[in-house]
């Protein structure tokens, strides 16, 4: 097995802190959009502050990526896979950043309070507008499915590196 330089500690911390948050967010989101059970209120009250937390962490993560660049991919990686890796990471970062903003924006357009905790609320960032809300609400769903699909590909690719290619890429993040 080739040994690769690991991700810097700050990057590891951010990745492994955000990974469960984002996966939880996707499951909570798809669950609450279906639920009429007593859990609905709890799920919503987790979803909103968790989304905002992911947004804040994502901004920190983007700054961190410039300070602490990720290790290079191995030279043995075919160019198609190299491209797929780059593209899927850009997509992941874009979705991590945009999803919370679309969520906050759609709540604003509907004038649902964006409750963080107790009396703490975020101000609306868009005008009160039903049509704008409808558009953002649908976008939130579409982007959520796209993020889930991208997460699955990311996870599968990580396992592919770790179990099949065994090129050390998996270990840069997972060891």
């Amino acid at each position: 097995m080739t040994t690769q330089a690991r991700f810097p500690a700050a990057s590891l911390l951010l990745h492994w802190m955000m990974a469960p948050m984002i996966v939880a967010m996707l499951f909570i989101g798809v669950g609450m959009a279906a639920s009429v059970s007593a859990r609905y209120d709890l799920l919503v009250s987790i979803h909103r502050p968790l989304g905002i937390a992911i947004f804040v962490l994502c901004v920190i993560r983007i700054v961190n990526r410039f300070i602490n660049p990720p290790p290079e991919l191995p030279d043995t990686l075919p160019s198609m896979q190299r491209f797929a890796a780059k593209a899927s990471h850009i997509l992941l970062y874009a979705l991590m950043l945009i999803m919370p903003l679309v969520g906050w924006g759609m709540l604003s357009a509907a004038r649902y309070p964006t409750v963080l905790y107790g009396p703490l609320r975020l101000p609306p960032i868009l005008p009160h507008d039903l049509t704008l809300y409808a558009w953002l609400r649908d976008l939130h769903t579409v982007l959520a499915y796209l993020l889930f699909a991208t997460f699955l590909v990311h996870f599968a690719a990580a396992l592919y590196h770790g179990l099949i290619r065994r090129d050390g890429v998996f270990g840069t993040m997972a060891s």
Binding site: F27, Y40, D41, P78, A110, P119, L130, Y133, L152, F155
Partner: protein, 368 residues
């Protein structure tokens, strides 16, 4: 033909097919769990979409309208807090003073053009705009208890009342079977039937039906149900409405508001330890402590087509700090179903026809 990466992997790595299979299995499991959370793998689970479909079965499609309480008018006014409820709740709305209110009066049912009738359940929805961006929204009805105590009960009642595709009428046998399975509904309907039906919206008492919890400054919590009790004199509904107009209840309300602002006292009923908070079909015993939290004044009406209530979802779980949901499962259910209804009508906004109570009708003081 296998993909290139598969062949490449196979050459260098003899255990690869098994490991690829394992990766595939992990992906399928994660995707399956996601699908399970989304309700796609459980055809019998009651979801928001199925609830919306049931409303459509009963009422047909009315693009752009609320799925329930579809016929309504917008109103605005204010709430003068007496300061008396601050002993129970730290919510800023109860501090002595005035906050703006955007409200909506409506008739229960998903038909936006139904003819006003005395026995149809009337509702008052209020949105209190607190300083600092907090809000309190509540939807109240002129019935003493709610006919069902769970989302499932509500859904089954809808299904039982939905018209048979063959006859176009609801099947009494299905409603009978529903009643047999829901003794709590039979009891609740008896209480609802006994209520005093007043002459209109302005002299109706509207009840929260669900229980909530008030949290005071020290963190102590008490169960509360609230009511808007009319200040104007109450008159019994005559068997025959005063006019034959389709919108007579709304027209009367608009005319009364033009004549004089209409007022309700916001009365908090404080429950005791054994009073049911998780079952909206059960009344609380008489004689519970009541607190007059202040007065709601409504001085303007407007059609939904131009009013400030139209783009508002009167979600009962939009609460300020100091008011919390109780353990009543209907609160989550209402919040979830209202959200679905709100999204659907927002998507249909561009195809919505004018509301039953038009801007011209309101302009004419309800005398069209």
């Amino acid at each position: 033909m296998k993909p290139f990466w598969f062949r490449a992997a196979l050459l260098t790595n003899p255990g690869a097919p098994f490991r690829l299979g394992a990766i595939g299995a992990v992906m399928l499991s994660v995707a399956g769990a996601f699908g399970y959370a989304g309700g796609w793998l459980s055809p019998t689970r009651l979801t928001q979409d199925r609830m919306m479909a049931a409303f459509q079965d009963v009422n047909g499609t009315h693009a752009g309208f609320r799925r329930n309480h579809a016929k309504g008018v917008c109103v605005t006014g204010w709430f003068d807090s007496s300061g008396q409820a601050t002993a129970l709740s730290k919510a800023a709305v109860f501090r002595r003073g005035r906050v703006a209110v955007v409200g909506r009066f409506a008739l229960a049912g998903g038909m936006p053009f139904q003819t006003d009738a005395p026995a149809t359940v009337r509702s008052m929805a209020l949105r209190f705009l607190l300083p600092g961006g907090e809000e309190w929204r509540t939807g109240m009805n002129n019935i003493p208890v709610f006919p069902v105590n769970s989302a499932r009960g509500f859904y089954e009642q809808l299904l039982a009342s939905s018209p048979d595709p063959a006859t176009g009428k609801s099947d009494p046998a299905r409603m009978k079977a529903f009643m047999a399975a829901h003794p709590e509904t039979v009891q609740a309907l008896a209480l609802i039937k006994k209520r005093q039906v007043t002459s209109g919206f302005a002299d109706s008492t509207f009840n929260s039906l669900n229980a909530f919890r008030f949290i005071d400054a020290a963190g102590a919590s008490v169960p509360v149900r609230w009511s808007a009790v009319p200040v104007q004199p109450v008159a019994a509904s005559s068997a025959e409405p005063s006019t034959a107009a389709d919108n007579y209840l709304f027209d009367d309300l608009i005319a009364q508001i033009v004549q004089h602002p209409q007022q309700w006292r916001l009365i908090m009923t404080v429950g005791q330890a054994d009073d049911p908070t998780n079952d909206a079909t059960l009344p609380w015993p008489e004689g519970r402590r009541q607190i007059d939290a202040g007065t709601i004044t409504i001085d303007q009406a407007s059609s939904e087509d131009s009013g400030r209530c139209t783009a508002v979802n009167y979600d009962p779980l939009v609460l300020p700090s100091g008011i919390e949901p109780s353990d009543d499962p209907l609160l989550s259910a209402r919040s979830a179903v209202y959200a679905s209804s709100f999204t659907l009508r927002a998507e249909e906004e561009h195809e919505k026809p004018p509301s039953a109570v038009t801007a011209q009708e309101v302009q004419a003081g309800g005398k069209l």
